[in-house]
């Protein structure tokens, strides 16, 4: 055979390794005009979703049935919007001390089920709500959104210690009655508040202990009652308001300045609501060492998906994410199938024989491009969306961390879904098969899971636990609070998994598809 060692290449190659493969794939991606257009469509479509929000409005119905302008809900110590309305029999007491009381009854009534936003003034029916509350409280003040900790009995969730609207810790189970009373105790020691409960006043259990850093020396010590609105889903969506009355005795205060005189204060009574005003008012009576407190409302986070919920969620601004996902995934799938269609893949593998690295380089190139495009789109969508929404309705506030998580999460969702599409494209090799697979794996389950009423709720939530669409949990701006009964459904933007867990489901799909694609690349001829 001919020997051919004589030729010496004069061309010098630059840096070695994976980086130049990524560079090559990025050059491929940016030099096809259709793909560049599609990549630019990602931020445009993601951002355009915010424009759909210009018509969102909020109006409340007043006592006379006339519309009343919306007022933004108060915010709690954690910065979240809160529903804070109840009735409080209180004393202002300075320094450390303990309040103890026995609850012998929790009763209530509610408006009949209403299906339209009109004021309801009569026809009340008896009964407590699962989260009707009556108990003792140490609070920073009487303004809505004040820091507090409270021990309470509830209509259906036993004894609870709750603090600062979102904190909740379970105590003794069961309902309260004269034959089965509940003893509640709350102790202040500096900024530390500790709650206890007991069924006999002798044996006490600690329910929880919290530090309220913003608690002034002179705090409001009191007895409270409140009861939230309710919703029914069938036969048609409806709901109403409710009221609860708690009966207290064996009340003991250890503060030095404590007296037997209580001041009654209604906190945050609503003159109007989205479905009409709350017809119930608060009051208290004090006789023979027994105090009854009657109140209506809730001391909890504000949840728009309740009968009297106000405001919109910032995640509505990211409605366009699912639209932006379409060009992102289709470009990613076609990015690899286009090479198969013309046999270009043979040249690619001749240039870079280690096929797994080519796949990885493609994933990095298309993933980075969609991530950046998504980041721009999501940042614009969220910023402009919140502004547009605020013009019509209060936007429930959220932490900076949540905002960053939503924007970065949206970008990551688009990027990882694009890599999933790339892997499916590598497996399918034909463009039409790849795009169909992408749509069948990502979009069809998402559609089945979010279209209201298409499938039973349990099935919809199951789909959002196991399909790639689970990652849409990254755009959820408000958590679902178990202590507020709302319509926590996918159709209303509540996902069954947390942002991290939902994103992990998508990552697992992508990892599995990439592994299968890498295996297929090694096994088959080009």
């Amino acid at each position: 055979m001919t020997t051919l060692a004589s030729h010496q290449s004069e061309v010098r190659t630059g840096r070695d390794g994976f980086g130049r493969l990524v560079h090559a794939e990025w050059t491929k991606l940016r030099t096809v005009r259709g793909w560049v257009v599609a990549l630019l469509l990602i931020p445009v479509l993601t951002g355009l979703g915010a424009l759909l929000l210009t018509n969102v409005s909020c109006s409340l119905v007043g006592v006379d049935g006339q519309p009343v302008a919306c007022v933004a809900p108060a915010t709690g110590p954690g910065g979240e919007a809160v529903a804070d309305s109840f009735y409080l029999a209180r004393q202002a007491l300075a320094g450390d001390g303990t309040i103890t009381a026995r609850v012998t009854s929790l009763a209530g009534r509610h408006t009949p089920v209403s299906t339209s936003p009109t004021p309801v003034t009569g026809g009340f029916e008896p009964g407590v709500q699962p989260w009707s509350k009556a108990g003792i409280m140490i609070s920073a003040g009487t303004a809505q959104g004040s820091a507090y900790a409270a021990m309470m009995v509830t209509g259906g969730n036993g004894v609870r210690m709750q603090w600062n609207y979102t904190g909740d810790s379970a105590g003794l189970p069961g309902t309260v009655s004269a034959s089965s009373p509940r003893w509640l105790r709350l102790t202040r020691s500096g900024d530390t508040l500790t709650g206890y409960d007991s069924s006999d006043g002798t044996h006490w259990n600690t329910v929880g202990s919290v530090v309220l850093s913003s608690l002034p020396s002179s705090a409001q010590i009191g007895l409270f009652a409140t009861s939230p609105s309710y919703i029914v889903l069938a036969p048609t969506f409806g709901g109403g308001q409710s009221q609860a009355t708690g009966t207290f005795d064996r009340i003991a205060l250890t503060w030095p300045g404590a007296t037997g005189r209580w001041i009654g204060t209604g906190i945050g009574s609503d003159p109007a609501g989205p479905n009409g005003p709350d017809p119930f008012t608060g009051s208290f009576t004090h006789a023979n060492d027994t105090i009854t407190v009657t109140g209506s409302g809730d001391i909890a986070p504000e949840v728009p998906e309740t009968w009297d919920g106000v405001g919109v969620k910032a995640q509505d601004a990211l409605t366009g994410t699912v639209v932006g996902l379409i060009p992102a995934t289709i470009v990613a799938a076609l990015f690899v199938t286009a090479e198969y269609r013309r046999g270009l893949i043979r040249l690619t593998f001749a240039a870079a024989p280690r096929r797994g690295r080519v796949l990885a380089a493609k994933a990095v190139a298309v993933g980075s491009a969609t991530f950046v495009a998504g980041l721009v789109g999501a940042a614009i969508a969220l910023a402009s969306g919140i502004r547009l929404l605020s013009a019509g309705s209060p936007v429930l506030p959220m932490s900076t961390f949540t905002e960053v998580r939503m924007v970065v999460g949206t970008a990551a969702l688009l990027a990882v879904a694009a890599v999933l599409a790339l892997a499916l494209g590598t497996l399918a090799r034909r463009g039409v098969t790849a795009v169909t697979a992408v749509i069948a794996v990502i979009f069809v389950p998402l559609l089945l899971a979010t279209l209201p009423g298409l499938l039973p709720l349990g099935t919809q939530e199951w789909l959002l636990r196991v399909t790639p669409g689970a990652a849409f949990a990254v755009i959820q701006s408000l958590p679902a609070y178990h202590q507020v009964l709302g319509q926590y459904q996918p159709a209303f933007g509540y996902f069954p998994l947390s942002a991290a867990a939902g994103f992990a489901v998508l990552c697992a799909w992508t990892a599995a598809a990439l592994a299968a694609a890498g295996y297929a690349l090694r096994r088959r001829d080009v």
């Binding site: 379409i326 289709i330 034909r430």
Partner: protein, 277 residues
């Protein structure tokens, strides 16, 4: 004439010949046959799962009290079936653009509207057959399963049967729905000339509206989008209870889809005539 001259073409118009050619192309392409079969089978399977998943309790089981729609539940599989039907239509056209065979086809059938007509007829015929099988199977399965789940005359439901006008309309309408989806996909593929892009556009158009509407906070706008959506309006043909809550009346809704399909065919046909292959 020489002795080896071709035998004379068989009698029949250009459309008939083109149709015959398109049918031969379809049936001689390996794998294509399975698409309509899969469309029918998966439609029935998903419908059976949805019917099996249906549960209700107490007053919610009645037709007037928020219970499900037997026709809609039985026909849930249409959501998946339409994807396969769209793929079928896309491949019948897009496959030829992918490998350049469209040049041969246009050399053989130079009148492009005839070609479009022939392709549309083959796609529509195949889809009709698959849809008919899928819908009949779905509704038969639904009748078997749902009667055991409280969808009985006692709860205000009519038994699923073509004897009743609503069910006949839902069934026939669903078959027409799938045929229209196929024609929509055909028109779009003619317009974009690439299978991958075409299926993306078609399924994007079909699925995007419901996905956006589902999370849309603006309800007035959402209602308009529902009326414009080929899927939501089109599938209102399936509704047999609570028809007053539909965005459009059943036949009007199917009309919206027909407008989309007609528009797509018109666009595809015009572009086919105007530009080079």
């Amino acid at each position: 004439m020489s002795s080896v001259g071709l035998s004379r073409p068989r009698a029949g118009g250009a459309v008939w010949l083109a149709l015959h050619a398109e049918w031969t192309k379809f049936r001689t392409l390996p794998g294509m046959f399975w698409l309509p079969v899969a469309a029918a089978v998966l439609t029935v399977a998903v419908g059976a799962i949805a019917a099996g998943e249906y549960h209700c309790a107490g007053s919610m089981c009645t037709a007037a009290g928020g219970g499900g729609d037997p026709a809609r539940i039985s026909l849930t599989g249409i959501y998946l079936g339409q994807v396969l039907v769209a793929v079928l239509a896309v491949l019948v056209v897009g496959g030829e653009y992918g490998n350049g065979m469209i040049h041969v086809t246009l050399a053989a059938v130079p009148r492009r509207q005839v070609l479009l007509l022939a392709k549309a007829a083959v796609v529509a015929g195949l889809t009709f057959a698959a849809a008919l099988a899928g819908v009949l199977g779905s509704m038969a399965t639904g009748r078997l399963v749902l009667t055991g789940r409280g969808m009985t005359p006692a709860n205000g439901y009519l038994v699923l049967s073509p004897r009743y006008d609503e069910y006949l309309r839902a069934g026939l309408g669903s078959v027409l729905y799938l045929v229209l989806v196929a024609l929509l996909a055909l028109g779009i593929t003619m317009a974009v000339r690439d299978s991958g892009v075409a299926i993306g556009v078609v399924l994007g158009l079909l699925l995007l509206f419901p996905l956006v509407i589902a999370v849309m906070p603006d309800h007035a706008l959402a209602r308009h989008l529902e009326q414009a959506s080929p899927v939501i309006s089109g599938l209102s043909i399936e509704a047999t209870i609570n028809e007053s809550s539909l965005p459009l009346a059943p036949w009007q809704g199917l009309g919206v889809l027909a407008l989309w399909a007609g528009g797509a065919l018109l666009l595809g046909g015009l572009l086919l005539r105007r530009r080079d292959a």
